[in-house]
Amino acid sequence: MIAVELFTAQNIGFAVISLLMIVAALRVVTTSNVVHAALWLVVVLSGAAAQYVLLAAEFVAVTQVLVYIGAVMVLFLFGTMLTRARIGTERDLNNSYRLLGIPVAGLLFAAMAIAIVSSFGDEELPGEPRLIGVPEISDQIFGPYLLPFWALSFVLLAAIIGAIVLARKD
């Protein structure tokens, strides 16, 4: 019974996309060129957008593309290309602490896995994913979640002012 349930279209799509994301994520840290690493990161982030589409969260998926690929990664590439992006391999990209990353990543994974399992347990997702419209999302943001939304705006405002202060010449 389980074997039949496992091979639904959603699961196969999830598996293909996550495999792609894992390979791309590994390439981000193993590749020896800064720009290649950034482009692999683009693959990871578009994979995340595809996962949101699979979960019927269209608005979040499009926001992911607009914010992360359209803005963050472009600024990322812009910054590296402006300063230190050489073509070909670079030897000094890895530093000596890189093995420390593996236990940290393992710990982070364990923490997230425990958090997800303990809060959802055996809860099952509804078979037919429900499409949540933009009006419902905005009702939530500007209703019960107004305070966190404002707090986030203040964080961004502080970041913008900080950038201006750092960039000023005088």
């Binding site: 926001t63 593309v65 472009v74 812009f78």
Partner: protein, 351 residues
């Protein structure tokens, strides 16, 4: 369920039709724009005839040009990054094809009826920046890199007023779905007069002007062609490209102009529709089936009108300097478009 001429089309048939339709909707406008505007209109504005030899009135010149590009040698510079270099034009062209996917051409003639359509269009249009940056960097050429960086800075600066101009339309139509925006315009009325519908070019005129300026910059057409300024950067990020890869950039440029013009006509000119009051239609379901065939033609006409304005400005204005260009976006367009949003929302609440 889509039905054409009362024939029910199966799902795979619809998908096939939509893929073919998407290719036609990208390539046909691109070819027409290049011939009508780039070859002929620019020549007339400069008091010359333009191509006259190939075919009647030079109409087959485009075939000759494409043939010329296809037989050129595919050159990749020795110090370039070959993989990224090859990928870059594909990314640019792919963003155009992704863009056309949400444009509606008739009551049933759409590729996808995406609920957050216009938001999606704005998101995927920013993907072309990625391709341009890749092209500029992978060419291993300082001119290319400078062109790519200029393009990225410009596209980011002008994407913001574009998004903000669209928000006015979204507030007025109360939806992000492009199909519903078309219906809202054609079934709307201005002060009780429904003979014209409510094309948002009239009620969102400030937004329309900001959007037109922003797409002019997004398409890097003069006066915003700093990224490919030929007198200082050779050809910007396209400098090292030749043959087929250059052709892809070239198609991408004019196809994106066409698709952006289609989106403009959907947002501000009523898209594929005619004012519904003319034929006594009330909503999308009562629209006659023949609009599936007339709609694309109406759309094409409106697109040519918008592209005409874009090209007219392109052929007749001098280039902005880089700092003028950035200052104009951040100090003029963004404050004006924020004001437009505020006024639109006040009117929406009051009326």
């Amino acid at each position: 369920m889509m039905s054409l001429l009362a024939v029910e089309v199966p799902y795979w048939g619809q998908s096939l039709l939509r893929v073919l339709g998407g290719i036609v909707a990208v390539l046909l406008p691109a070819g027409t724009i290049v011939y009508v505007f780039l070859f002929k209109m620019m020549s007339f504005m400069q008091s010359r005839l333009g191509p006259m030899e190939a075919g009647p009135y030079g109409s087959l010149q485009l075939v000759a040009e494409v043939g010329k590009w296809l037989q050129k040698e595919d050159i990749i510079p020795q110090r370039a990054d070959p993989r990224i270099f090859r990928m870059a034009p594909i990314v640019v062209l792919a963003s155009t094809f992704l863009l056309v996917a949400v444009v509606p051409f008739g009551p049933d003639a759409w590729f996808t009826n995406f609920e957050v359509g216009i938001f999606y269009a704005l998101a995927v249009s920013s993907l072309s920046v990625l391709g341009i940056l890749m092209a500029g960097w992978a060419s291993a050429n300082k001119y290319s890199l400078l062109g790519g960086l200029r393009a990225a800075g410009q596209l980011i600066a002008y994407e913001l007023p574009m998004v903000l101009a669209v928000i006015g339309v979204v507030i007025q139509a109360e939806t992000m779905n492009l199909q519903k925006i078309v219906v809202a315009q054609n079934s709307g009325e201005i002060f009780g007069f429904s003979g014209l519908g409510n094309p948002y070019v009239l009620t969102q005129f400030v937004g329309f002007i900001i959007f037109m300026i922003a797409i002019q910059a997004e398409l890097t057409q003069a006066p915003f062609d700093m990224p490919i300024a030929e007198s200082e950067l050779v050809s910007g990020y396209m400098t090292e490209y030749s043959g087929f890869r250059f052709l892809m950039f070239f198609i991408g440029e004019f196809a994106t102009a066409g698709v952006f013009a289609m989106i403009t006509s959907v947002l501000f000119l009523g898209g594929w529709g005619v004012p519904f009051a003319w034929f006594g239609w009330s909503d999308i379901d009562s629209v006659a089936n023949w609009m599936n065939f007339v709609g694309p033609l109406i759309m094409f006409t409106k697109m040519m009108l918008i592209v005409f304005i874009i090209m007219w400005v392109r052929f007749s204005s001098p280039r902005f300097r880089e700092d003028q260009l950035q200052r104009f976006a951040w100090k003029v367009l963004i404050p004006v478009s924020l004001g437009n949003i505020a006024i639109t929302s006040i009117f929406k609440v009051v009326m």
